[in-house]
Amino acid sequence: MNHLRSIAELGPDGLHRLLDLTDHMAEVNRRPNPKVPALRGRTVCNVFFEDSTRTRLSFETAAKRLSADTMTFSVASSSLNKGESLRDTIETIAAMGVDAFVVRHGSSGVPWQISAWTTASIVNAGDGWHEHPTQALLDAYTIRQALGRTTGFDGLRIAIVGDVKHSRVARSDIAAFTMLGADVTLVAPRTLLPPGDLGDDLGVSVSDRLDPVLEDVDVLYLLRMQRERMTEALVPSLREYTARFGLTPDRARRLGDHVVVMHPGPMNRGVEMAVDPAELPGAVITQQVTNGIAVRMAVLFDLLGSGARPAPEPHTDVENTEMERA
């Protein structure tokens, strides 16, 4: 594996391999000293063109627990504001000697573009509406842990509720869950679903009502409802959204204790999560965050440590590069 840009690119074998590897990383994280020397001498650069403190901290922690060196580039402190191109930015950082870029960008596809400009591995930490593969991995790992499903999700019924259309989390989750064999149902008004025939295109069922789906589900995955969606005439009001698609106290009462409840965070309490998740026996939202570190360790190790790599090219002298550029 050279890059982790999408779940599809990972494939079923890669997905199982990373989930198995995550078990090891979770064990490392349980040790008194949760750190291994596996990626000593490797450099991981987080390039975040869109703010996401949670994801960035999770990747940074993962890299450090594997003893990799980390660099962080965030757009606020960059010269991108001064008109430097994405390509120049990546090539300049790459010239400093980077083994992996962890990339977050508001535009779909940027990880693919970047991988054409550097030989370093690319990890997609979220691109536009497209994918957030490590979130899907940690979600799959959390379900596997919660339900003891180590070999796959055959027959598991997972409902993903909310704004699928604009959600990279949903797109990656759908790909990962269906790849593991789960039956996925998307629950949302048509305004919040991607266009096309979703049964054919994504291999999922669709429902525009939550209540019948709740009767018959093993995992309930609530997506974050962005407040600005109202102004785009996608839903009339958050109140109406909550009434139709939120996890209300009434729905929570009817939910079986065995149902795993998930959310990618940050939650809109009172909107999609209209109950205190602490009172839900099946809520695993904190575990999702914890597992995020182990999953990202697995990804970084799989990319940078698991295979034989050719001898690294000598690092370009950055001083000279800058002189030439000037």
Binding site: L86, S108, V110, G128, L198, D200, D201, L202
Partner: protein
């Protein structure tokens, strides 16, 4: 005093096809006869300065006319100039091109239009026909001075780059155009339905997580404007049709006898939305690449004449611009130098029909059929294209005449390539190399 002898080719024009050599003198075709070239060896008709162009295995046709090119000058000369674009046009076999008005400043005044025409004349590689804006600054608010611009020789008016959104304004434009001998051309896109759109709305965009450009946004405006043509009786040309629904609407309008014409771009009958799976902005274009079903409909529309012309929508953008994230990168692809090769590789229709769609049919729409797309006969203006219809080749971006490199055909084998181009009696392209 220039003389050109084109030997060994097959002449193909609107009157048919025949083996003949063609002699050109002082900008005019003087002789079209079999084996005239050999007989001239000792110099009866051909003088000692005659240039002989070998057309063995080639078709000699009237020069091609492109109704739709963006030459970027004035305003974005880093992407293309009228000279570099003209050179690409000549290499692609075009002897006339219609320059779209979305320059900076826009082509909404006589001075800008005259500037574009003069730059074209200075380059001397093909005839550059400036189009005019429908609205001032293409802002969609106030009509551009149609009569003034028509007086400066403008025949085609469009706000291309965007469609005229306001139906009242469009109605007035068509009504006002009446009697001026001009044609309005529409870029059909209901902007409200394509805000932020990056690619065709369908299965592929669902999977790729990209905002979709629904076929409906094009078809709604095609439908609206057909009805406005029915109401006003003014002629209308439909730019770069991309959907099966649009082809159906135009076909029905023509069946009703309405004065409508239409064009399609080579990329809309050769590339599908699946290309966006690479996330390369090279494949971002407006209207977007559509589905295989749409491609089939465009091909059928060209084959049955519903779509009159092949027009490239040649849209140069600098590498920097095409390295932006997909949602920020500007739409557009190069087309001039690959149009014939794409058409012959992807269209299953008689060669004469392909040449018609590249030459005399667009010449009529642009109202330059007094000098382009003419039959190849003595006394006719010498705007000619000589092309090998069977040679397979691949584009090498670095060799393109365009200042930009955004061709989507790097991986695709093309069939058919221009060997020589004669513009106004001068050999501007010889053996695939521009002479100016």
């Amino acid at each position: 005093m220039t003389e050109i002898v084109i030997t060994g080719g097959t002449v193909l024009d609107r009157t048919g096809e025949r083996r003949a050599d063609v002699v050109v003198r002082d900008g005019v075709v003087t002789q079209v006869e079999e084996d005239v070239g050999e007989g001239l060896g000792e110099g009866a008709a051909a003088g000692p300065d005659a240039t002989t162009l070998d057309a063995a295995g080639c078709v000699v046709s009237p020069g091609f006319v492109d109704l739709h090119v963006h030459l970027r000058e004035p305003g974005r000369e880093e992407a293309e100039t009228i000279e570099s674009g003209s050179r690409g046009a000549a290499l692609g076999g075009f002897t006339a091109v219609v320059a779209m008005p979305n320059t900076d400043p826009a082509q909404d005044s006589v001075s800008v239009v005259e500037f574009v025409r003069r730059q074209g004349e200075a380059a001397g590689l093909c005839e550059v026909l400036p189009s005019g804006c429908i609205t001032v600054g293409r802002a969609g608010e106030q009509l551009a001075p149609f009569a003034e611009l028509a007086g400066a020789g403008v025949t085609l008016f469009t706000d291309d780059g965007s469609g005229v959104q306001d139906p009242l304004l469009m109605r007035r434009a068509l009504e006002y155009a009446h009697g001026l001998g001009i044609t309005l051309a529409q870029h059909c896109e209901v902007a409200r339905l394509t805000e932020g759109a990056v690619m065709h709305e369908g299965s592929c965009c669902s999977r790729l997580g990209l905002p979709g450009w629904p076929a409906l946004a094009e078809e709604l405006m095609v439908h609206r404007d057909i009805e406005l043509v029915r109401l006003t009786g003014a002629p209308m040309h439909f730019l770069h049709l991309s959907t099966a629904g649009s082809v159906r609407l135009i076909r029905a309008a023509k069946d009703d006898g309405l004065p409508v014409t239409a064009e399609a771009a080579p990329h809309h009958f050769s590339l599908t939305d699946e290309q966006l799976g690479t996330y390369s902005p090279i494949f971002k274009v407006n209207p977007p690449l559509r589905t295989a079903a749409d491609i089939a409909a465009i091909r059928a529309g060209l084959a049955d004449g519903t779509i009159d012309a092949i027009a490239t929508d040649h849209a140069p953008h600098t590498p920097d611009a095409k390295e932006l994230p997909l949602d920020q990168a500007p739409p557009g692809m190069l087309g001039l130098e690959t149009a014939l090769g794409v058409a012959l590789a992807h269209l299953d229709m008689p060669l004469a029909d392909v040449v018609a769609a590249l030459s005399w049919k667009p010449a009529a729409i642009a109202k330059v059929d007094d000098r382009h797309g003419r039959p190849i006969a003595p006394g006719e203006p010498a705007n000619l294209t000589v092309f090998d219809p069977t040679v397979e080749w691949r584009v090498r971006p670095a060799r393109l005449a365009s200042r930009s490199r955004n061709t989507p055909y790097v991986e695709t084998p093309l069939r058919g390539r221009v060997r020589h181009t004669v513009f106004a009696g001068a050999a501007v392209v010889v053996d695939g190399e521009a002479r100016r």
